[in-house]
Symmetry: C2
Subunit: 149 residues, 2 copies
């Protein structure tokens, strides 16, 4: 996997678009059988919805596209380590593989804090691959917060 | 606090209504200044949305009612211990107090598994009160699953 993975590139585009909307720049894409079936950037402010994270919106879009509550065999690409809420949503949706960019030691729920996939209360854990395009993903976030200071 | 708390009674009503719709019967209510500003039962099947848990829908309704992304000073009543996803959503929404009915050792994220509010990645933890109307809340769930077998 190189940093030019097309699905992660699409997730990075969604993150940049989120930044232009004034939202914390995180982007996510759901892929099944080589096809993008859901893509979104963070919209928590616009939608006034604390659950409107990129991953949740991409999963909701994919479920609507497939007319299914579950996404068996689908993979999710996201620019930042999912938070605890998104880690759980990814599990509930039965995502097969999770690819994420930058780590999030302060808010991540996959490899930090709750580490949801290692809990006995987690009934489906995706395979997790981290560090894909992580410099670019982190730079988008760094620049966003630098400009707002 | 007795088992006739009116907000938990309303949450139990939402749980019963969810059961009648064929949804796992959990109900939740958001209260601020003595007023119910959001109430919902679980609708994951109907909405084909793995995040459409009672707590999330009640929080979304309350945020829409207040036109605010955060619910400072609001309390949430729910019939079952919130899962990890809902525990995080409750934290993100800045709920002040969480009152829940039955414990959920298999899927709970407050007093089981991820125990999100005890994690360093949790930046706001509500005060938690459990066991309110727990027998009634558990009985609604028990009956629902017994009838579906």
């Amino acid at each position: 996997m190189t940093e030019t993975n097309p699905y992660m590139e699409r997730a990075l585009e969604e993150a940049r678009a989120a930044a232009r909307r004034g939202e914390v720049p995180v982007g996510a894409v759901v892929v099944k059988d080589g096809r993008v079936i859901g893509a979104a950037g963070n919209r928590t402010r616009e939608l006034r919805d604390v659950t409107a994270h990129a991953e949740v919106l991409a999963i909701r879009a994919a479920c609507a596209a497939l007319e299914d509550e579950r996404l068996e065999g689908a993979d999710l690409y996201v620019t930042l380590e999912p938070c605890t809420l998104c880690a759980a949503a990814i599990s509930f949706a039965r995502i097969r593989r999770l690819y994420y960019g930058a780590e999030d030691p302060k808010g991540g729920g996959v490899d930090h804090g709750a580490r949801f996939y290692r809990q006995p209360t987690c009934h489906h854990a995706p395979d997790v691959y981290s560090g894909i395009a992580e410099r670019e993903a982190a730079e988008i976030l760094r620049q966003f917060f630098a400009e707002r200071r």
